[in-house]
Amino acid sequence: MIKGIQVLGILVSIYLMAKTVVQYKKRNYSPKRTAFWLSLWVVMAILFAFPSLTLLALPILTTQDAMLTVVVVGLMVTFILIYQTYQQVTSLERKLTELVQNIAIDNHLKKAMSDPEKEDE
């Protein structure tokens, strides 16, 4: 029988997949980067749906249930926060770079138009 924590994990995975698709639609992500993140979230969803898979790969996780739940929930929250931060930093970095470049080019063009001879020196 599927547990509540599994449902929560799957929902979080779906939320992250949706966020990734939105980033792709906004052209913040290339198709390859979108595929990378989507596959990560799909793996996460599969592991929550079929947790016995983790037992095969990571026997160390077979601790007490309560402890495991805390760790898993903590990890999920951390994933969300890290991913949100990554998105925001990437987006801000791009905007800042474009802004700085536009200022530099505009200043150069203004100077060139106001004093073309001096600009050629």
Binding site: R33, I103, N107
Partner: protein, 227 residues
């Protein structure tokens, strides 16, 4: 190619000790050059010295990285309808005399000419970790772009502007842009060629690449470029 001016772009950050020497070295070649220094938010006298030496200075108000500076250069090249552009570092480690050699190589319908410090055996004045990093990334890049690359991080290059128009919108990296430009140009089926250049030891200033920062940034760039 010689009748039209050749646009030379030098991205520079805090290179007041070497920038004049680089510009004067280029001027000595007696070619029809238009020299631009993209000052990436230097806090020293790089811009003033470059202007005094006769270059046109385009100044980023803050430091955002060599990749952003090179994209500013690409934008200006497109605005100026340049046929080819040359880029080289402002730290004086590139020999201006090699300019003729790499321009000559660009005449054969090549879209990107990379000046390689490793095509011929010569003494390399750089830390071992950087040498290993360059070799590793050059090998990975060779597999990815299916063209032999020996110096993936060299910024002494000639770009065909026609190819830059198609590549520029895909460029994102603010650091270690050398890898990204090669990959994106190869995706656009660019013809890429390497020519041997002389590696000059840094005689003034110091490298801004520490071992940890260098390793982290290269790995990050590689992951972002190849995914």
């Amino acid at each position: 190619m010689n009748e039209k001016p050749i646009f030379v772009f030098i991205p520079a950050y805090n290179e007041e000790e070497s920038i004049e020497r680089v510009i004067n070295g280029l001027k000595k070649l007696k070619l029809n050059l238009k020299i631009y220094v993209i000052d990436d938010g230097s806090t020293d006298r790089t811009a003033g010295k470059a202007r005094k030496a006769g270059a046109t200075v385009i100044r980023h108000p803050i430091n955002i990285g060599g990749g952003a500076a090179i994209r500013t250069a690409f934008t200006l090249a497109i605005l100026n309808n340049a046929e080819y552009i040359v880029t080289l570092d402002g730290d004086g480690q590139h020999d201006p005399k090699d300019l003729l050699k790499i321009i000559e190589a660009a005449k054969d319908g090549v879209d990107l000419v990379i000046g390689s410090r490793f095509l011929k055996k010569q003494k390399q004045e750089m830390p071992r970790y950087r040498l290993m990093g360059i070799r590793l990334f050059s090998r990975l890049l060779t597999k990815k772009v299916k063209t032999k690359i020996t110096d993936a991080t060299s910024c002494y290059r000639v770009y065909k502007t026609k190819m830059l128009r198609r590549t520029l919108p895909k460029l994102r990296e603010n650091q270690y842009y050398g890898l990204e430009t090669i990959v994106r140009m190869a995706e656009n089926r660019a013809k890429i060629k390497e020519v041997s250049i002389t590696s000059i030891p840094r005689i003034c200033g110091k490298s801004k690449k520490g071992v940890l920062k260098y390793g982290y940034n290269l790995m990050r760039t590689l992951l972002r470029t190849l995914t």
